[in-house]
Subunit: 189 residues, 2 copies
C-alpha cells in the first residue's frame, strides 16, 4: 500500500535496528482518511470470504480493525488485555509476551462474542515476533470459529512472526512489509 | 439518542446498582453501524466549533472517537495508559483512579500531538465519577489547547462526574443519561 509507505517514511521514528515508532499514524495519533483507506484495503482482500467478524486486540489495532468492520458491515471484537470488574468469567484467555512492552500479558475474549458460526479476520497494527497474533489464533481455534486470515498494517519481515504464521498455513496479508531498519534506514520489501 | 437507549435495553447487563456492562456495544464488541451513528451525532454537536482534534483514552473510547474524527475529518489522539518501550519522554502525564478497574493508572499524551493551536473535543464511552475525564482535561489545559467540550456515550448521571464537570463550566454532551440502575432496572433521564 503505497500511501502507507509514504506516511511511514514521513513520520516513522527509528529507535533501533528492530523498533520503529509510528505513534503519528498508528499507536497514539490516527489520521482518519489513511485509516479508512487501510480498512477498505483489508475489506477488499477478504471481501469474498463471507467474513462474520473482525477480531483485534486493544488498543492500536482498534481504529484499522474498526474501519475494516465498517466497510464489511460486520461486528468488531477487540480482545482485552486483562480482567476488569466488568469482565465476564466465561472467557477464552491466553498468556502472551509483548515485544514492545517487554512484559507478559493475558489476553481474553468473551465466549459470547466468538463461536463456531464465526468466520474471522484477525487485524492488527504490527506483526513482529507474532506472539500476540499466535495467542489470538489459539483463541479463535478454541472457539471453533474459522480463521480466514490476518490483516496486518506493518509487518516487520526481518522478524519471524509473519513468516512462521504463513508457514503454518494461515493467510497473512500485510499492507506494508519492512525488510530492514538497519543503519537507521527503512527498507521496504 | 434513541437508538443507543434501545441497544442498552437490549444488551446491557446490570451488575450492581452502580455498574452496567455494555460489552456487546462498547467495551468488547462493537456494532459499526451504531458506532458510526454515535460518531456522527458527536460531529453534529460540535460541527460549528472548528474542531482540530478528537481526544480519547484507550481502549473503549477509540471506536466512537474514531467515528467522530472520520466525520469531522480531523486527527484522533488516544491517550495511553502507561509507558511502553515505544513511548516518547516528552509527554503530559496525569495519574487517575479508574472506577471500573479499581486501580490507579497513569495516562499520557505526547506533547507532539496536542498544543495551543488545537481545539479539542474529548470523547469517551462512559462517565461515572469523571476521574479519567478530569485527568484528560488537565492534560488539555497544560497543553494550552482549547477544550471545546466532552462527548460521552453513556453518562451515569447518578454519579457526580458529568455534573461536576458541567459546573466547572465545561460543555458536556451525553448521548444517553442513565439516572438509575437501582433494583436491576435501567432508568434513563
Amino acid at each position: 500500500m503505497e500511501l502507507l509507505k509514504q506516511k511511514i517514511r514521513e513520520v516513522g521514528v527509528i529507535l533501533s535496528d528492530e523498533v520503529i515508532k509510528l505513534d503519528a499514524i498508528l499507536n497514539h495519533a490516527v489520521d482518519p482518511a489513511l485509516t479508512t483507506a487501510m480498512g477498505r484495503e483489508f475489506a477488499r482482500l477478504y471481501r469474498d470470504e463471507n467474513v462474520t467478524k473482525i477480531l483485534t486486540i486493544e488498543s492500536s489495532g482498534i481504529p484499522i480493525a474498526f474501519a475494516a468492520a465498517q466497510e464489511l458491515n460486520v461486528p468488531l471484537v477487540f480482545a482485552r488485555r486483562k480482567k476488569s470488574l466488568n469482565t465476564e468469567t466465561e472467557t477464552y484467555c491466553e498468556r502472551v509476551p509483548s515485544f514492545t512492552k517487554g512484559i507478559v500479558t493475558d489476553i481474553m475474549v468473551s465466549k459470547e462474542f466468538l463461536d463456531e458460526k464465526d468466520r474471522v479476520v484477525l487485524i492488527d497494527d504490527f506483526i513482529a515476533n507474532g506472539d500476540a497474533a499466535r495467542g489470538l489464533i489459539r483463541i479463535i481455534r478454541r472457539s471453533g470459529a474459522v480463521l480466514l486470515g490476518l490483516g496486518i498494517a506493518v509487518e516487520k519481515s526481518f522478524q519471524a512472526g509473519g513468516r512462521t504464521i504463513r508457514e503454518s498455513g494461515v493467510r497473512v496479508e500485510s499492507l506494508v512489509k519492512i525488510a530492514s531498519l538497519a543503519g537507521g534506514e527503512i527498507r521496504f520489501e
